[in-house]
């Protein structure tokens, strides 16, 4: 089946998004696996001729939301939360690690919007459909996510500079 082949081709993109969304590779691949299983089971519901990628990311979003709901009452990746346990792998540059950490500290719904716009380069309408939210909400979440990320990255830079001074 044609969709099946395209679905497999989209796996790297699902993994990229999941990795940025979940924060660690193992957790991301779990999410991708659950998503794929669900997608295969629901493939008959996919309407040919429509955007398979958008459909797949919608499936992933739903799976993710259900998992988050099932495993914990509130999203722990809240901005007030203490720093996450260290997740990046060796070989990442400092910038990548900082970014990854800051992305992970964004509130979950803002993070999803930012990543779909930035990584997947989805249109705002596509993001709205994928996440099932109004486009106005997409825009405000995007705006807040970016501002928060910028502030956090500035903070990282500042504390890195302070560290150097202390040395």
């Amino acid at each position: 089946m044609d969709e099946a082949k395209r679905l497999v081709e989209l796996i790297p993109r699902l993994r990229r998004y999941a990795r940025a969304l979940v924060g660690d590779k193992a957790g991301a691949d779990d999410l991708v696996q659950d998503t794929l299983e669900r997608a295969w089971a629901k493939l008959h519901l996919y309407r040919r001729g429509t955007d398979l990628r958008a459909w797949l990311f919608t499936v992933m979003h739903n799976v993710h939301v259900n998992r988050v709901r099932a495993t914990r009452p509130t999203d722990p990746l809240h901005e007030d939360m203490p720093e996450l346990a260290y997740r990046a792998s060796q070989g990442d540059t400092l910038l990548v690690r900082d970014l990854d950490r800051c992305v992970a500290r964004l509130p979950a719904d803002q993070r999803a919007v930012l990543l779909l716009v930035t990584l997947e380069e989805m249109s705002y309408e596509e993001v709205a459909r994928t996440l099932g939210i109004p486009i106005g909400t997409v825009m405000s979440r995007l705006s807040r996510a970016r501002e928060k990320l910028r502030a956090m990255m500035l903070g990282q830079a500042a504390s890195a500079a302070r560290l150097k001074l202390v040395k």
């Binding site: 990584l119 249109s123 705002y124």
Partner: protein
């Protein structure tokens, strides 16, 4: 009014998605608001950096289990091991392959798998000669057949495509097994030769076996167990080599 710029427009500008008609107005406004201009430039840099940070995931090889996740529920087994087994069989010749006489089966180290092979051979012998009612649900309703059997067995099944071996799906049926329902798919060649694929679920989900061959009353069976399912391919019409080829096809489709 064109000098009023919304935050949404600024975001769209940062993403390079602002309609052409508004671009000049936004750029003009940004020129007059250097702080905002700096903020939007920072967003653009951040987008680049975020893309770069996760770029590597796109070129990373996809783990095998993800490639097949859900297209079959069966966990991976290394195809290499099976191919090695097949190659070994080819080298040693047919005589060296594990051929078991059913009477002595209980003494073997894989009694359970052998019991399955025997059940599969019996089911094959019972249903494959049927002319009018070889299956309960025909291949014309393949989707329904697979969904139904999957539901009854509680695992996601697929009816493998065996066109490469010149066999096409006739249909399938549900059978009683030792520990629950069993699925049987029947295939037929142009000239009426038949084979059946027998699938049962496994209680202990962490067992794997290699391909094995058994023969009972002129029905040859290749069978293997792969964690949550056991498979047996039976035919009285196909030679052992042909059956092995089919087993390989089935195996590859279930977990290539």
């Amino acid at each position: 009014m064109s000098d009023i710029v919304s935050e949404a427009e600024l975001q769209a500008y940062a993403d390079g998605r602002l309609p052409q008609a508004r671009r000049a107005a936004v750029e003009g406004w940004l020129a007059e608001h250097p702080e905002e201009s700096e903020r939007i430039a920072a967003y653009r840099r951040l987008s680049e950096e975020v893309r770069a940070a996760y770029e590597g995931m796109l070129s990373e090889p996809v783990p095998e289990h993800l490639k097949h996740a859900g297209s079959r529920r069966l966990p991976m087994r290394r195809i290499a091991a099976v191919l090695a087994w097949i190659a070994l069989g080819a080298v040693l010749g047919a005589g060296a392959m594990w051929e078991l006489r059913p009477e002595r089966i209980v003494l073997q180290t894989q009694p359970d798998g052998v019991v399955m092979a025997r059940r599969a051979a019996m089911a094959h012998a019972v249903y494959s000669p049927e002319v009018r009612h070889p299956v309960e649900v025909g291949a014309s309703e393949e989707q329904h057949l697979v969904a139904w059997l999957s539901k009854r067995l509680g695992v996601k099944l697929r009816a493998p495509k065996l066109d490469d071996a010149g066999m096409s799906l006739v249909g399938g049926r549900l059978l009683p097994g030792d520990s629950g329902p069993v699925a049987q798919f029947m295939y037929q060649s142009q000239n009426g030769r038949r084979l059946t694929l027998y699938v049962r679920t496994e209680a202990s989900k962490n067992r794997e076996t290699a391909f094995r061959y058994a023969r009972e009353n002129n029905v040859g069976v290749f069978y293997w167990i792969d964690r949550d399912a056991g498979y047996a391919i039976a035919s009285g019409d196909l030679s052992k080599e042909e059956l092995l080829r089919v087993a390989d096809l089935v195996y590859k489709q279930l977990e290539p």
